[in-house]
Amino acid sequence: MNHTITDFQHKMAAHCESGTLSGILNYNGLEITEPMVFGLANGIFFGYMKMKNFNFPTFFVRIQPGKLRTNIGKRLGVKYYSKTYKNQEEATQELDALLLKNIPVAVQVDFFYMDYLPSWYRVHNNVHFITVVGKEGSQYLVSDCYFPELARIEQDSLIKGRFAGGLSAPKGFMYYPTLVPQDPDLKKQLKIGIKKASFNMIKLPIPFVGIKGIRKFGNKITEWPSFARDIENLSHEVMKINVLLEDQGTGGAGFRYMYATFLRQASEILNSEEIKEMSKRLMEIGDGWREISVFAARMGKNRDLGVDKLRVLGDMILKRADVEKEFFTDLYKIVK
């Protein structure tokens, strides 16, 4: 089979899920930026928890994978066809058939098997999204937000990626939009999205999410040595704070910069100076998260992991809780 969807516009993006969704919606006639997808879908979040089967607590800075797509569906009236597969052959045949109909298809893969990317960059992560836009012989053409141009991947590698095992296994998951309204009521939906994000951060009655989650993170970090096997293990986990905030396709500062960009774009649509100012405020809040990220990385790298140092790190995190509480309270009032 030799067929390429030539008018698909590949763009790099900060985050794979929002970038893939933005690319595929643009192809279907709805001009929408990556930050706009993220913000409309109330992507910003915070949570701190210790999961079963993991020695260390972890934190997350966005809503759960897949929710960006479903929330955009709710906000903009986008309908999708989505499917998981047990049978690899069936998944491949259906993908090829869709490509022949000029339908770009988003697929969930294990990032590790995307071998067009340098090997040092690839880690096992089952929740990576790419868009398949063509096939030439045994190679697929894919749009991956982390790669500067359309990439080629062997069919075998793509299948390995789509059917990798483990936590959050993709199970061949794919989706494409079947209905994309061209003129949604953006003003109304922007306010709903902002209100929902602010509500999640300040009002959800769950002790480990939103501002409460940031506080828990700040207060509990001095307990991290008790979870560690040894100093190497502790250092690795503390350095991971930097990775989760800066290196996991967050757009920097744990998605705070991306949400700030969304607010700036929203302020233009809503013609709101207040929201424009909130965008600037969040950029500055993001700078504080970035300082945390560097501080934690240096601590880990230098094995400087005493309780006093962890307390300083904890206090920096608690300061973010204070400023984000004020920020999201004010933001909620603006759109209420």
Partner: protein, 94 residues
């Protein structure tokens, strides 16, 4: 004249990087303008943590934002690419 300004800016960026990262055994003139700052062939041993510190230092000194790591990967390739980015951002601000 323009190229003299660009050369001065590149020297200033090198000093800023060495100062920010407290690298004392390398002089600004030891860093080639087109040499990679990260990855293979990296002459001064920088890593991804250093990159965030450099981004923050550039932001403070030149009031330019590099919010996104994908953008950072391109901007922080070499002294030349950092200087080009700063010049372009300053032109946008003027």
């Amino acid at each position: 004249m323009e190229s003299l300004q660009a050369e001065a800016l590149k020297k200033e960026i090198k000093e800023l990087i060495l100062d920010t990262l407290k690298i004392i055994d390398v002089k600004p003139e030891d860093i080639k303008n087109d040499a990679p700052l990260f990855g293979e062939g990296n002459s001064i041993g920088l890593d991804s943590i250093d990159s965030i510190e450099i981004i923050m230092a550039l932001q403070r000194k030149y009031e330019v934002r590099i919010d996104d790591q994908n953008l950072a990967r391109f901007v922080l390739q070499s002294i030349n690419s950092i200087a080009d980015f700063i010049i372009k951002e300053k032109e946008k601000q003027d």
